[in-house]
């Protein structure tokens, strides 16, 4: 099983919600496992596929800005299970037309398969990186923020319930593998959209937040169209904005293969 939190915020466009589903939270509070499981299903595996244009603005403490722009295609292999991502870079110029392909595996024993296509060399490379807690394209988002963190990696505890939110505290089962001590996720009680994540270091000091800055309903699905990471340690900040969001576009399986890695499909270029 896979989590949602980060992934849901980052891949905000993949946040289709159970439109007609009457939230059952109003009367009684579900147990924490139900909350995280539901948020996982709701946030990550609704809709069979989706696409979006992503603009990332990384602002350093000194105010220097760097821009990343890419189109992203997502397709679920099995509901609640494996997924495939196709990321086509448009900016900056030195990575233009570069393609990043991920076959995400929910089986813990299996690392994700990742490829990188370098157009200048016509080279298809396999990426050997297995550490998911490293930066994604130099931003304040980590790879795991993009591909999702497994629910099984943490223990979950409902620490607060307000009118609008459930606040869940997540403690890593294997603290050696991560840089944080724990993190809290605030989940909208009606929609199960994670609206804020707060990361605390090993000493219990808050050092990073990820916030859903803007949520829109697209094709009936509440969608995070802007999320912001603030790194309080480094003073760096990354804004991620989604546009041209579309769900259920009927992406072919073959898009996520070497054929399209070498020559991106129309869906990814436009």
């Amino acid at each position: 099983m896979r989590s949602v939190w980060t992934a849901a915020l980052v891949l905000g466009f993949s946040l289709p919600l159970l439109a007609g589903d009457k939230p059952d939270q109003a009367k009684e509070t579900p147990d924490v496992q139900t909350i995280v499981t539901k948020a996982n299903v709701v946030a990550y595996y609704q809709g069979k596929d989706g696409k979006a244009t992503v603009r990332m603005t990384i602002t350093s403490k000194q105010g220097q800005k760097r821009l990343r722009e890419f189109n992203i295609l997502r397709k679920d292999v099995t509901d609640g299970g494996d997924q495939k991502y196709f990321v086509y870079f448009q900016k900056p110029p030195d990575v233009r037309k570069m393609v990043y392909l991920v076959h995400k595996h929910t089986d813990k024993a299996k690392d994700d398969d990742r490829w990188l296509y370098m157009p200048g060399l016509d080279l298809v490379r396999r990426i050997a990186a297995s550490d998911k807690r490293t930066s994604f394209v130099g931003s304040d988002f980590l790879y795991e923020d993009i591909s999702g963190r497994s629910l099984d990696d943490d223990t979950h505890q409902l620490v607060e319930t307000t009118e609008e939110l459930f606040v869940v505290k997540n403690v890593p089962k294997d603290p050696e593998t991560v840089e944080f001590g724990y993190y809290n996720v605030s989940i909208d009680r009606k929609t199960y959209v994670p609206v804020k994540m707060e990361f605390y270091d090993k000493k219990g000091k808050l050092y990073k937040t990820i916030e859903s800055a803007k949520i829109e309903t697209i094709q009936g699905f509440p969608t995070v169209v802007k999320s912001v990471v603030s790194n309080l340690q480094t003073g760096s900040r990354t804004e991620m904005e989604f546009s041209k969001v579309k769900y259920d576009v009927n992406l072919k399986d073959s898009i996520f293969t070497e054929r399209y890695l070498r020559r991106a499909p129309r869906e990814a270029i436009r």
Binding site: I58, S60, Q64, R66, L67, K91, P92, P93, D94, R96, H103, D111, D113, G120, L121, D122, L123, V124, R126, I127, A128, A129, S130, D131, T134, S135, V137, G138, S139, S236, S254, T257, E258, R259, R263, R266, I269
Partner: protein
């Protein structure tokens, strides 16, 4: 003294830069969606680059400067309803050869005529195989000169004038690349890299530039390369075949005045996939030297077997390491030895290992890498350290070196000892 053609080229490049840059900068700005340029059906990109480098040792056959060029690349790309058109060309002025050049890197049309077929025709860069800076079944042209003098690694791949058809099915996929007229490597000719000249039995360079007699007729002197491949649970299995010529000179004429490109057929296979925490790859190829099948002809390369095994893994935060072991086995070695009149002989087995270390720092804007070739049998080394920093989204600066050493002057990398160089580069991309 600088010839007028260089000055002209510099002027042209500078003028083009002045004309292109403002437009390009506009195109790359944030509000580009609204700009006139972005509404054209053509995407315009490219870069302007300065690159300077010097030899660290005195080389009596070559100049002290190893690279000294200004380069302007223009990359035009248009996707239309029926297909894509690509044009990418470099204009550069080179103070080492004192000439101006235009290097057309790509000029091609890409079509997806059928659900199961892709087609690309024209000048294009072609790559396949699993090695990291070692090529067995990739017999598309390489530019070893650019590689050794410190141009961007991208320039290791020289373009092919070819048509490539790709067919896809659930059973397997097939690529066929047909090159109607042989495209050889941009090999070490002595023009700007000194080398071991076996006829002279000494190092040589500009005093003994290699002249070639190359297969040059359209359609008769063609090359054909095929790859049959399949992804099985993300293990990539491939079979290769090539019919053409040794890509760099693989022999010489009977009068020993010209280097030749004898017939070559290659058959091989490769496998790549995840192994443990990293990626493993294995590849082999049988090089059948068509013009010297018996191995008795001292003037033509013998047949060979080539083997490669590699593994890459992340070993620290933003730190990856890749290692490879490569073996080149000369077939019919006894006959080769008997056929030689004099001079140092090649070993039957050439062992080669490589190690690549790449570390990303400063939010991945600084990349430090070191690629090392080491041959225990040739007792020589080639190191490629490089530091690359992205000053901004458009501006990159880098510095690096090409370091050769060896015990003998005639071995693969040892012969290039005097070409050891350092370089710096600055690139503005748009």
């Amino acid at each position: 003294m600088i010839s007028s053609s260089v000055i002209k080229t510099f002027l042209v490049i500078s003028a083009a830069t002045v004309v292109m840059l403002p437009a390009a900068v506009t195109a790359s700005q944030e509000d580009a969606e609204e700009s006139f340029l972005s509404n054209l059906p053509v995407e315009i990109h490219g870069f302007y680059e300065m690159r300077d480098g010097y030899r660290l040792r005195k080389d009596k056959y070559e100049k002290d400067m190893s690279i000294m060029e200004n380069r302007f690349q223009l990359d035009l790309y248009s996707y239309l309803d029926w297909g894509d058109i690509r044009f990418k060309g470099d204009a550069y002025g080179d103070l080492v050869t004192e000439k101006g050049y235009f290097d057309m890197r790509e000029a091609n049309v890409f079509l997806r005529p059928l659900d199961y077929m892709d087609f690309k025709a024209g000048r294009q860069i072609l790559t396949w195989g699993t090695g990291d800076l070692i090529f067995i079944n990739d017999l598309f042209p390489k530019d070893w000169q650019s590689f050794f003098i410190g141009r961007d690694t991208e320039y290791l791949k020289a373009p092919s004038d070819a048509a490539k058809v790709s067919l896809f099915s659930d059973w397997a996929n097939l690529d066929i690349a047909y090159t109607p007229r042989f495209d050889h490597d941009r090999f070490i000719s002595g023009e700007r890299i000194s080398y071991w000249n076996s006829n002279l039995a000494r190092l040589a360079g500009q005093d003994a530039i290699i002249h070639t007699d190359k297969p040059n007729e359209w359609f008769r002197d063609s090359e054909i390369a095929g790859r049959l491949y399949k992804n099985i649970e993300n293990y990539e299995l491939a079979f290769y075949s090539y019919h053409g010529y040794w890509k760099s000179p693989g022999g010489q004429t009977a009068t020993m005045t010209q280097a030749i490109f004898p017939d070559l057929n290659v058959y091989g296979t490769s496998l790549r996939g995840s192994v443990g925490k990293g990626i493993g790859n294995a590849e082999l190829g049988y090089y059948e030297s068509g013009d010297d099948q018996s191995g008795r002809n001292a003037l033509v390369n013998n047949s060979e077997m080539r083997y490669l095994i590699g593994y890459a893994q992340e070993i620290g935060k933003d730190l990856t390491m890749g290692v490879q072991y490569y073996l080149e086995q000369m077939l019919d070695y006894g006959r080769y030895k008997n056929s030689l009149a004099s001079g140092p002989t090649r070993d039957e087995y050439r062992h080669l290992t490589t190690v690549r270390l790449t570390k990303l720092l400063m939010n991945q804007n600084l990349r430090c890498s070191l690629f090392t070739y080491y041959s225990p049998s040739d007792k020589d080394v080639y190191m490629r350290p490089n530091v690359n920093y992205k000053v901004s989204d458009n501006l990159t600066v880098e510095a690096g070196a090409n370091v050769f050493f060896g015990d003998n002057p005639h071995t693969f990398f040892g012969q290039f000892q005097n070409n050891t160089n350092i370089y710096t580069g600055l690139r503005y991309s748009f």
